[in-house]
Amino acid sequence: MTHQNESEVLLELDNVVAGYGNLVALHGISLSVRHKEVVALLGANGAGKSTTLRTISGLIKPSAGAIRWKGQGIAGSPPEAILRLGISHCPEERHVWPEMTVEENVELGGYLLNSKVELRRRKEIAFHRFPRLRERARQLAGTLSGGEQQMLAIARALMSEPQLLILDEPSLGLSPRMADEVFDVIREINAHGVSILVVEQNVHKALNVASRAYVLETGEVIAEKDSASLKNDPELLNAYLGG
């Protein structure tokens, strides 16, 4: 890997407009994620957080605006091309493959890998992080409990060892303790130099890991602040996110 400056912008969204069919859900979103940074995306229900993430990872094609990865425009690229660049997206609602075993689910996370050895190494890490998954390696993913599926989804997203990890509500359905562990994992991989863009409903948890946060409302960025100052902005917190 070439040496990268701490402040180098990895991902940048510039006035991105996107939506579903006729419905416009994002009215010009601009945000950026820098190298080694953890950024949180906050906002009320239906604000467009998930839509933003889907647009970045290529699940939705933006109708206007630019998305840049290390300066290169990537708007409109298919998801697999974006993954190849090093952006991995752990989607909302888990999306595990119900009729495959836990192990197969995990392994498929490393679909783009060609080395079996490397795949095994990463799988080992995943199982180490989430011992419950190792216990259930042969169980069909569809029969896992909600929280177990969530762990599986996160483990799978980590398999590609991305440069930018996008997490959509990673703590959803996790027990408080498990959620803490997941946030520890987030910190840990961030410490290894991975940038993270996270949507999280638990504002405190989010602001504890993130250095910066964007607040979305009805498809627009209404605030961008570093975590410390956002924590100290009770008005904004109260108005949109809850204390």
Binding site: S57, G58, L59, P78, P79, E80, L83, R84, S88, H89, C90, P91, H95, V96, W97, P98, E99, M100, E104, E107, L108, G109, G110, Y111, L112, L140, A141, G142, T143, R156, A157, M159, S160
Partner: protein, 291 residues
């Protein structure tokens, strides 16, 4: 009496293998991709007709002919998926049903226009001289066809269960969003599956066309049997498809042998009803749905 029984069972097994083979393409497209493909029989028909064209008309031998037919049909399936089936992909099952019914009508009747209604002969790969195996009779070409069927079925199963491509296919059909997020090019997986399904259908059409005849209007019948086989075995399950085919073949042979030949076609449907009565998801199927 026992010799007769053996012969019936053998007939049934051979036929059952053929059923499994002719359902193979459908196991992919319907069983795995969950597209209720009414044009399956027409793909089979195209295999037979193209087989006739390349062997009887263009004078190729069976094997080179098969290569050509497989290539053509794979390309056909691929294009069909990329340009037509995609457009109904996420719109529920009905548009797919209607689309493939329309396609089936179109293909059958266009084939009728182009090559006429007459049955056609596909040049056989080996002779169809009878062979005596103890008390029972079989022909060389049938043995050959059974071998090819087994190869194709086993190959398809290995492909789906053991290879990365197979895994990518299953992932795509179970959850396409997740699949594209781990880097699977889902559009090309859909298209390749469809291409593979069409090519398999055509292979069986050509192979069986060399044993029976190739004919433009055979499609509907083939589709019916293939649906029965796929359902009997459990959706998208290759081992199941083989067993479904064999069960159907043997049951039909025994029914035809000891009860009544005019009603053999009823056997398959009666079996489907019976088996689903006791096992609502086919003989072999995994289900991971939970409330």
């Amino acid at each position: 009496m026992f010799d007769l029984f053996l012969q019936f069972v053998l007939n049934g097994l051979v036929n059952g293998t053929f059923y499994a083979l002719s359902a193979l393409g459908l196991t992919l497209i319907f069983g795995l991709m969950r597209l209720v493909n009414f044009a399956h029989g027409e793909f089979y028909m195209m295999g037979g007709i193209l087989g006739w064209v390349v062997t009887s008309q263009l004078g190729l031998d069976f094997f080179s002919g098969l290569v050509v037919v497989v290539a053509v049909m794979a390309a056909f399936g691929w294009l069909l998926d990329r340009f037509i089936i995609v457009r109904v992909r996420d719109k529920g099952p009905e548009p797919g049903i209607l689309l493939t019914i329309g396609l089936a009508i179109f293909l059958t009747n266009t084939a009728l226009l182009l090559v006429g209604t007459a049955p056609h002969k596909v040049v056989a790969p080996v002779s169809n001289a009878p062979l005596l195996l103890g008390p029972v009779i079989i022909t060389k070409v049938r043995i050959f066809a059974v071998a090819v069927s087994i190869l194709a079925i086993v190959g398809a199963r290995l492909l789906i269960q053991k290879t990365k491509l197979g895994r990518a296919m299953r992932a795509t059909f179970q959850d396409a969003t997740a699949a594209s997020l781990v880097g699977i090019n889902t559009a090309s997986i859909y298209a390749s599956t469809f291409a593979l399904g069409s090519a398999l259908a055509a292979t069986s059409g050509m192979l069986l066309g060399s044993i029976y005849v190739a004919q433009a209007s055979i499609g509907g019948l083939i589709s019916l049997k293939a649906f029965v086989v796929v359902i009997l075995g459990g959706m998208g399950n290759f081992a199941g498809a083989i067993l479904g085919g064999l069960i159907l073949g043997v049951a039909e042979a025994l029914w035809g042998g000891y009860v009544q030949t005019g009603t053999v076609d009823m056997v398959g449907f009666a079996l489907v009803i019976l088996i689903l009565f006791f096992r609502p998801y086919g003989l072999f199927s995994i289900r991971a749905e939970r409330a």
